[in-house]
Symmetry: C2
Subunit: 190 residues, 2 copies
DNA sequence: GAACATACGGAACAGTTGTTCCGGATGTCA
DNA sequence: TGACATCCGGAACAACTGTTCCGTATGTTC
């Protein structure tokens, strides 16, 4: 119902993207416990400026997380079109974990809309969920993933991998070793 | 060097265990973000009383976490004596995860003495680490666990499982499904 | 039961946090 | 350039946090 919003003033536009960038950096570093003051400082901006653009901390965080999530969901679609189903599935799993290592809040989204109020933060979450589900189903049809694997346990394992990744600074090698073992468990034929 | 400390006054002794019990309960519920006030209230005790017994929040938390850790390490020894190596290994893995679901800080210990200052909290951590290592080596000798599995990735996978367990209230069924898949990855012969 | 060390409770302090508010600066448009 | 809506900065507020302090109460000892 709200018509076309008049374009932002130039400085407002500039500050908005500054805040977004700073928030992304600080969130990546501190996770969901990042403070508004830290973001304001990083952005070289006053506190009021942040609140002018994002009425609430949650609004700001959601803007970022939703964006990340959507981008990942797109990647999933690209992958499932380009590669063979098995490779696409495992590649995307890895992609999410790598992403989580650099974006602390990622894992919290995946644990799902559990008890934690901050967990149900991303509007893009359902998109990503369905993207994952598509990859899973296709990989199973192709025989690259065990038939008895279902979404709940897949998400649980994915979330676990992300949670570890966001806490430790894994070497690439360790990450690959751990994921390799996990992937062996996901494959059929034991 | 400090000689025998005179026994605590009766009420002091009573309050000390009250605090410990309350802290355990609150820590299990709120994790490492539990507040001293919450613990004091749960214990039916003043704030000063807590600080008399535990000079610092970290001291209190460490007392509990260290105790838990030691008990788990003992369990590991018992298991490795009683059961066959493979069963002992997987049983203990499961045991830790179940424990983590009820004791929020557990997982944070396992991620190791990383960046997080609160992670290096438990003095019993090395004990548990070596307990796990023993179980692993024995299970490998018995051929129940793949030979190329080493401690770093094992701890990573274990930590991941614990982190998920402490966040979601898993049904027992989901937990078993997820662990089942993970265990398949840990076994030899693919 | 008196005397004394010990321990208790909770107000008070210092540091966070998210959020609000408003005087003053700044971009925009005639 | 002038006039005005828009936007900015950061002090101030309220609600938290861990921690300190001290008047009071309580257990212990003779």
């Amino acid at each position: 119902m709200s018509g076309e919003a008049r374009p932002l003033r130039a400085d407002a536009q500039r500050n908005r993207t500054r805040v977004l960038e700073a928030a992304e950096a600080v969130l990546a570093r501190d996770g969901l416990s990042a403070s508004m003051r830290a973001i304001a400082q990083k952005a070289g901006v006053g506190l009021g400026t942040i609140y002018r653009h994002f009425p609430t901390q949650e609004d700001l965080y959601r803007a970022i997380v939703t964006d990340r999530t959507r981008r990942l969901a797109e990647e999933a679609h690209t992958l499932s079109a380009a590669e063979d189903p098995g490779a696409a599935f495992f590649a995307f799993f890895t992609r999410i974990v790598v992403n989580a290592a650099r974006n602390k809040p990622m894992a919290d989204i995946l644990v799902g809309s559990g008890v934690d109020p901050k967990a149900a933060m991303a509007e893009g979450a359902p998109d990503m969920r369905s993207a994952i589900e598509t990859l899973l189903v296709n990989a199973q049809k192709a025989g690259a993933v065990r038939q008895d694997l279902r979404m709940p346990e897949l998400l649980a394992l994915l979330a676990g991998a992300c949670l570890v990744a966001e806490r430790n600074q894994w070497s690439d090698e360790l990450r690959d070793r751990a994921l390799g073992i996990l992937f062996d468990g996901l494959r059929p034929n034991h």
